[in-house]
């Protein structure tokens, strides 16, 4: 897909936004830095669908994070990761 903002391997940061309402970007991942490992497809924005509104299509990325970068007190080994599916508008380049 040529009009994707992010490609596999890109480093991204999740916005530190805390809006009310229906969002599918979990609280724990906001402000974290990770790596795009795939585009899961393009889907209608759930933030609109949840309110019975017509929704525009937005790319959904699979973003991988080191556990140690997400949790201050992560107990496991440093190679452990988590992967979260995040919509494009919640991501910015991690420069």
């Amino acid at each position: 897909m040529s009009d994707l903002e992010f490609q596999n391997g890109d480093r991204v940061r999740v916005h530190t936004w805390y809006p009310p309402g229906h969002v599918r970007t979990p609280y724990f991942i906001r402000g974290c830095n990770g790596t795009v490992i795939g585009c899961a497809g393009v889907y209608e924005n759930p933030e609109k669908l949840a309110y019975g509104q017509d929704a525009e299509h937005r790319p959904l990325y699979r973003v991988q994070f080191k556990q140690a970068d997400v949790w201050q007190d992560y107990q496991g080994p440093e190679q452990d990761t988590l992967v979260v599916d995040i919509y494009e508008h919640w991501l910015e380049p991690d420069t």
């Binding site: 899961a40 496991g76 988590l82 992967v83």
Partner: protein, 210 residues
């Protein structure tokens, strides 16, 4: 209490109602069902068919898919590319919501959670267990997967990567577990018997031959 006439057939046993008190939401569910049928939104037959369809989805379906992937590398490649398309080859309709299979290797062990609600690949492996939907699983698996897994009796080596997938959006996830050692030459049916629901969630490993 009014006298009860026993000339007719005995009541069919309805444990929901007769064993436990019915709750407000049970009443609401029944009322909503009846109203929607009266209004022609759907029919009683459609309700029955929908319930039967869900009842027919069980971990055994997932086990078929896993066993095929273990014995057929090209099928496995197609499965990892597109679960919904690959499962059609086995006559399984996994629905239109995309399911992604994540493969366990000697270096990576995958675990699935939905922290926001309880998304689960139900059309392929059936309805989720209560614990998957619990506060404890949803809050802790994402931040301490190895501890949660050890609560399930699963200990993983320190030198592999444990990778937790939070199915936050339009994808559902399932784990493609590693084929157990000591199963060379086993046929698919025998292999299916080793695949457990919990191994497709990632909290356990499949059964081993002994």
């Amino acid at each position: 209490m009014s006298p009860h006439d026993h000339d007719h057939e005995p009541h069919p046993y309805q444990p929901d109602i007769e064993d436990a008190p019915f709750t407000e939401r049970m009443v609401m569910a029944q009322a909503v069902e009846e109203l929607l049928i009266e209004k022609g939104v759907f029919t009683a037959d459609q309700m029955r068919a929908q319930i039967e369809s869900v009842d027919s989805r069980t971990p055994a379906m997932g086990a078929q898919v896993i066993a095929r992937a273990w014995t057929d590398p090209e099928f496995k490649a197609r499965l990892l590319e597109d679960v919904n398309a690959a499962t059609e080859e086995l006559g399984i309709d996994a629905g239109h919501i995309p399911i992604r299979a994540v493969e366990n290797t000697e270096d990576v062990h995958n675990v699935i959670v939905c922290t926001l609600c309880s998304c689960y690949p139900r059309l392929l492996i059936g309805l989720p267990p209560d614990w998957y939907k619990s506060r404890a699983y949803r809050s802790r698996t994402i931040k301490e997967p190895r501890t949660v897994l050890s609560e399930f009796g699963t200990e993983l080596p320190e030198d592999i990567e444990v990778r937790v997938h939070d199915s936050t959006a339009d994808l559902r996830y399932m784990v493609l577990p590693r084929r157990p050692d000591g199963t060379d030459g086993w046929d698919e049916e025998a292999l299916q018997g080793l695949v457990t629901r919990d191994s497709m969630i990632g909290v356990s490993l499949p059964k081993s031959p002994d």
